[in-house]
Structures are given as C-alpha cells and as structure tokens.
Symmetry: C2
Subunit: 274 residues, 2 copies
Amino acid sequence: MQTATRRDPATPADRTATEAPVHVVPRARADSGSSEDVPSPLKTLCSTCHLKDLCLPCGLTGSDVQRLDSLMFARRRVKEGQALYHEGEKFQFIYAVRSGTFKSVLTLKDGREQVTGFQMAGELMGLDGLAAGKHASAAIALEDAEICAIPYGHLSELASVSPDLQHVISRLMSREIVREHSLMMLLGSMNAEERLAAFLLNISQRMKARGYSASEFHLRMSRAEIGSYLGMKLETVSRTFSAFQQQRLLEVDKKHVRIVDLDGLTHAFEMRVQ
Amino acid sequence: MQTATRRDPATPADRTATEAPVHVVPRARADSGSSEDVPSPLKTLCSTCHLKDLCLPCGLTGSDVQRLDSLMFARRRVKEGQALYHEGEKFQFIYAVRSGTFKSVLTLKDGREQVTGFQMAGELMGLDGLAAGKHASAAIALEDAEICAIPYGHLSELASVSPDLQHVISRLMSREIVREHSLMMLLGSMNAEERLAAFLLNISQRMKARGYSASEFHLRMSRAEIGSYLGMKLETVSRTFSAFQQQRLLEVDKKHVRIVDLDGLTHAFEMRVQ
DNA sequence: CGATTCCTTGAGGCATCTCAAGGCAAGTGG
DNA sequence: CCACTTGCCTTGAGATGCCTCAAGGAATCG
C-alpha cells in the first residue's frame, strides 16, 4: 500500500480537500467501499472546477463551458488498486481525473501486462473505447482518486451544436495519438537511460503544469509499473535510478525523486550513441 | 527501388488502373513529376469509390455520403520515396490512401528515425496533426501512390451538421489510439519472433480486407523500415524471417511472403515464454 | 558493366534479462 | 510490544537475445 506517505512536499492528493471548489463530499460516501460501482450523486460544474484550464473545458469560451455545466458530470471515488473500468467493458463514459493517479493497462492472453499510460489530474481516460464500443484497456487507481464520469453520448450531442467543443474533443484525441507516437519512439529506439530520463522529464513537466514542483515529486507507480510502461524490467529501472543518482542527476529515495541536474537529465535523454 | 516487381499475385498498385471507378487519369498527369506539390484538379466522389467500405464513408448512409461527395476531394499522386507531408508542416488536410502504401515516420533531433505506421488503401493519414495544428509525423510513399486530400476544415463543418459523420471520424481517431496501444504492447513486451509474427498477421488481415490473398503478398517496405517499426535492427528482421522459413511457417523471397502455416505463425505470435 | 541498394549470414560483444539473496518499511497477530 | 509476514526495492552474478561490425550475394540502374 502506498497511501498517505509522510513528508511529501508536492502531493496533489493532499491538497485536493482544500482546493476542490465544487461542493463538499458528504462523510458517508467518503469511506464507502462500494462507491466505485454506481456514480456518486455528486455533480460537478466545469465552470468552477480548479482543473478547467487543464481538462476538457480548456480553451472553451463561457457559453460552451456553460453547456458543459448543463451535463452535471457525476463524480466518483475510486480506491487505490481498484479499476475505474475494465478491458472489454461497455464504453459509455469518458473520465476526467479530478485527483489521484491512474494507470492504463492492456493484458495479453498469457497474462503479460503492458502499462500504456499514467493519468494525472485534469487528464482524460477512456477515449480508446470509442473505436469498438468497449474499453480497449483497463484503468486502475494508483492511489485513492476521484474522477468525473462524462457520458459520451451526451457529450457528443452537445458537441454537435458546438463546433468549438467538438474541436476540443478532437484535439484531445489527436493529442493522445501524438503522445503514443512519442512513446513508440521511446520503446523503439531508446536505451534504458534515455527511457527513464524521458519518463522523468515528462512527469516533471506535468507536475509543473499542475502547480507542483517540477524538480521534486512523489512517483505514484511502482518500479514494475514504470518498467512495463518503458519496456524494461523492474530491476533495470532500479539500476537506472541508481546510475542517475551516482551521476548526480537525481536524488532518489524509494518513490520520492528530486531532480538535481535538469540539464544533465535532459542530456541523458538525448544521449545519442555517437 | 521497389517498383513494378514481377510476378506479384496480389499487388494493389497493379490493379488500381483497372479498378478505380472514378474518372480516368489523363495521360499528361500520370507521368508528371511535379504532380505532388499542387493538388490535382481531379476530384473524387466517395459514393462511387471502390474503397468506400474501408475508408471514411464506411458505415455512413446515403445522405451523409452525398454530403461527403459535395466536398469533391482532390486527388493527388505521390511518387515513390516522396513525402505527402513533412513533420512540422501546417495541418490542413487529412489524407486517404487510394492506392499504394505509405509509411509514417518521426525523426529525433539526432537523426534517429521511428516508423510509426504503414498505411494501405482506404486508410487515413494525418490525424495526428490536429493536436498542434501541424503534422507530428511525415508520410512517405513506399511506392507510387494516389491519395484523396480531405480538407479538415470543410470536413469538420460537414461533421457539425451530421452527427453520424462526426461519430465516424471520432471512431477512426479512437481506432488509431487502439492501434498504437497494440504497437506499444508489441514494443514493450514481445521478443523478435513475436513482433514479426504480429506484424505479418496484421498485414495479412489488412490484405484480406482489401480483397487480396491473406496468405501471399508483397511487402512494400524494406527490412530497415520493418525493423524501425518493430523496434529491432534490420539484420534481426532478416534473421527472424529466415528462422520462420526454417520453421516452415513462411516462404520468403525478398519482399514476397507466403504464409505456409497460419496457425503456427499465430502460435509464434503468442509464444509465451513458459 | 560498374555503382548502388538491399538483403543475408556469421562472429563477437554488450545491454538487458533472469535468477537469487538480502534489506527496509508497514501491517498483522499473538 | 515483538515476532512474523508481506510487498517493494536494491544489488550481484551469470545467461542470453539482440546488436554491431563485416563480408558477400543478388537485383536494379544509369
């Protein structure tokens, strides 16, 4: 279990309770174990959400955001280790992360797993389900999390009367394609150090975009999950962390990472094998 | 050069001239070297296209297809080795392959290339450009090819009055995401034999969907391009082809491939390392 | 017909994997 | 409160799959 880690200078989850401007979660639901089956009756308004500049409404004008408000997205809590949706499950919603971190995983018939992404606050999940009408991957919470469930049918109705909204959705899907391109680049033509450097720099940027420190953060995922995502074994991930530490690029203590030499790390990422 | 290869039982390019039902390419243009800079004045109607069940109009009803017809997509020839668009180029069109084969490539600053996909007749290219308004990859013709240039602005105008069309476009983008998921699976957790087997089975299915033999086909891409796509070196691709041949799964003669034992190949694809 | 490109194959090297042992922190139960 | 378990991480040593380098063959082209 990786809950409630102490002394964390930049933990999204810790800040959520005080930052979330939309309603207050009733005590009764907060600790309910069965809260992941039925969407919570709590509703969320995009217009007052602290994530509106990162999430779906990003770039939309007032009238479009108000249209989104009319959908009153249901909020839902997902406990650490639990699935928001499973591979093969019927596609009805896309999900926006409100707090916490998720991993998206594919499973091969023989049980081999591939982590295809990590999602943080403000990021969308489930867009892969549109293709076949069922989710192509599973989404698992890496810590206690909260999401907005966005009914895709309603969203696309709304998009049909608002070209701007439609454009935002299309751009988000395109961004997902581009993101996967760069991961393919990584998996196809980088060595272990480049992969881990690229990963850490990416996390760093995303933390920064969320108002947290870009140089010091807590990883929510295990070495094995990082390894799966980066196409390497957990031991190699661990060794590469140690190597970076010896090169004075990082200070690592379990899941706590401090980037000591950003330029050096960037250089490791571009370490062309000349 | 890999043009006009002899004795090819299933070559899309060879058949295009007789199959293409839409207009006839005037002699003058057919051999013009400068035809890839300016969209050809030739226009294409989806409703009469022999690819309509594979391509954009797939699943649409008559009225929506007629709306697509009204856009009169420009046709354009691209010669082998030439780029349909470059990385970083302004995004204005998405492209549908009419005939020929393309590769999509990303280039790293140090010159390393990653092939992110191969596109055949009826498949769309360029959807990754939407995210940032410029193409995130380049598209290079692997043989003389013909495409439809679909102006994205017009298409999305059309989509705003036709929910079905919008849904088709969204589904195609989602399909691209799913496709990249499985490539990540491949790059992240498969060995050389599994990768090549997966690749060949995928090509086989796509050939079949286009009315060609699923068991015998011509590869339009080089060993180096296959290697880049699959995250391995060209020598390893070559050796793996040889290994499959020795295992009596394939018969390989340069770019001509005959699948002898489909089940065996499928099994190699699922070769769990027990 | 030489130049070029692409493919195949061999031999040796190396990055990463595999297997194994041990440490640390947190949780559990007596 | 302590012994024990469990999960995760680190590190070492040896194995190996793929890469690198190199040579040679076959087809194509000007």
